[in-house]
């Protein structure tokens, strides 16, 4: 398949754009594969890509129940950062960041990763200390981080309200300059095309409805397009994790599915270059290349598989957004939507072999797994290929909850709605 480049674009423009081929094939499922990946989201696709690229395993199928990228990869607020507090997370997400930095080249697909910086605003001295703790933790892991003063913040983001008489004045902020945003759909499509070019079958409209078992061992799946056997079955279905795992007889997991809403305004001229988060509540915002302000807040806070939320969170998010940017009151909301977050009990992910023989599980991304897409796929591929975790996901086990070896960034304990 043709390489993408400016030249190819020009050549095609001259010939009426007739020669472009499908970004990925639409194959019929084969009877069996070495590896089946359930879930055509970012993580499933990147896993397939790295299985092929890093481990030479290409007899792989990615099974997606709907259209590719219909899950959270296609509906998130696109923030990519590695500004974590706890070392297992910092290391993992920083590795991801490094993959992001070269991803467009690697995939020959412009995923529009733009290192426009992520700024967390602090509204009390204690919060600023807390952010400093995190920023220093990052620096001690070799990750970039800076503290910013209100004046510096105002220079960077002229529309922000730093007036001291604000209800929650801005005391400063923690900035990760290398963090930024990427184009969500492009990530799914780029990985799909990359995996497809290496021989992976990407099969859409193919819902996994059960697992084929030989004794304890998982040996394949039943789907809406027939049974498919596999040497290994890897599950990366994000918000649907509990539901899919129940099909394999695993009826309890340290996961709750919660809805997270996101919002976009009508397009406006460049207003905000950086990703900004509000510290007295929960609101984060960036501006897309198209001009829409893309933003979100807390999860709705109850179990849901509905991909849509309710009004209270909408109102909270809008209120907090205006606390940062009071000039946006007259700008209009264009669209709101929801996605299903696989909230884990400590807010950190799970990438592991098992829990059944022949099976591999990747979940617990909460509302932060987009940025993990490259590293998650990389580590999951390693785990599948080698039957043991990569050192970067060694801490992300399923049994850590029971053992009390938690990775609890927010210190909220087993109350998923608070992570």
């Amino acid at each position: 398949m043709a390489e993408y480049s400016a030249l190819a674009l020009l050549k095609n423009a001259l010939t009426g754009n007739r020669d472009w081929k499908p970004a990925w094939r639409k194959p019929e499922p084969k009877a069996s594969y070495d590896v089946i990946i359930v879930g055509g989201g970012g993580h499933g696709l990147s896993t397939a890509y790295y299985l092929a690229k890093e481990h030479g395993i290409t007899n792989v199928a990615v099974l997606e129940k709907g259209w590719l990228g219909s899950g959270n990869v296609g509906r998130n607020t696109v923030t990519v950062r590695s500004n974590y507090l706890l070392p297992p997370n910092t290391r993992f997400y920083e590795f991801s960041m490094k993959l992001w930095e070269n991803l467009s080249h690697d995939l020959n697909y412009n995923v529009m990763f733009s290192q426009r910086g992520v700024l967390n605003l602090a509204h009390t001295p204690a919060q600023l200390d807390d952010f400093a703790r995190r920023g220093n933790a990052m620096r001690h892991e070799g990750v970039d981080a800076e503290l910013m003063t209100p004046a510096q913040i105002k220079r960077l983001i002229p529309a922000i309200d730093i007036s001291g008489n604000a209800r929650f004045p801005i005391y400063g902020g923690l900035m990760q300059p290398r963090a930024g945003t990427a184009r969500h759909d492009a990530v799914a499509w780029g990985y799909a095309r990359g995996a497809d070019r290496r021989g992976v079958d990407i099969i859409e409209n193919c819902e996994v409805t059960g697992f084929l078992r030989e004794g304890d061992r998982v040996v394949g799946v039943t789907t809406t397009r027939g049974d498919i056997r596999a040497g290994k079955v890897a599950v990366a279905v994000a918000g649907s994790t509990s539901h899919v795992m129940r099909l394999a007889g695993i009826d309890r997991l340290p996961i709750e599915s919660h809805v997270l809403q996101a919002f976009v305004t009508e397009s406006i001229k460049p207003f905000l270059d950086t990703v900004v988060t509000f510290g007295m509540g929960h609101c984060y915002i960036n501006q897309s290349d198209k001009g829409g302000l893309v933003y979100g807040g807390d999860i709705d806070g109850y179990n849901s598989y509905a991909q849509r939320g309710n009004l209270p969170v909408v109102e909270d998010v809008m209120s907090e957004m205006l606390a940062m940017f009071p000039s946006l009151a007259g700008v209009r909301l264009l669209r709101s939507w929801g996605g299903l977050c696989d909230m884990s009990m400590d807010g950190s992910p799970i990438i592991t072999t098992g829990p059944l023989p022949g099976m591999y599980l990747n979940c617990g991304w909460c509302y932060g797994g987009f940025k993990a897409t490259p590293a998650s796929g990389f580590c999951f591929a390693h785990t599948i290929a080698r039957d043991e975790p990569h050192e970067l996901n060694a801490a992300f086990t399923l049994d850590r909850f029971h053992r009390g070896i938690l990775i609890d960034e927010k210190g909220q304990g087993a109350t998923p709605r608070l992570h």
Partner: protein
């Protein structure tokens, strides 16, 4: 979303705090069986369909209530005071 508080009547979801999975049974306090405690604290059925759950009417009468709510449609089919105990007749959350 509206939740019908058995005392206050239908109120907006913003008046309630989600207190999670109502299927979980706390082990007897003196139980040393760590497995049972772990299950209580960490493991969830998380069904796509009817779900037994606990909410508190925190911005109202502050009562905790058992709610049966469909996680696919958000439709609520039952609410009752938590003090009345577990809604035993309901099964624990297979897909509806």
């Amino acid at each position: 979303m509206l939740i019908t508080c058995p005392y206050c009547g239908p109120r907006d979801v913003s008046e309630f705090t989600y207190q999670g999975d109502g299927n979980r049974q706390r082990p007897a306090p003196a139980t040393k069986d760590l497995g049972a405690w772990n299950e209580y604290v960490y493991d969830r059925i998380n069904p796509a369909g009817d779900h037994n759950e606990i909410w508190q009417h925190s911005s109202g009468c502050r009562m905790h209530i058992h709610v049966v709510r469909n996680t696919l449609t958000h439709e609520i089919t039952d609410t009752r005071p938590a003090r009345g105990g577990h809604p035993a007749s309901r099964h624990h959350g297979a897909k509806s």
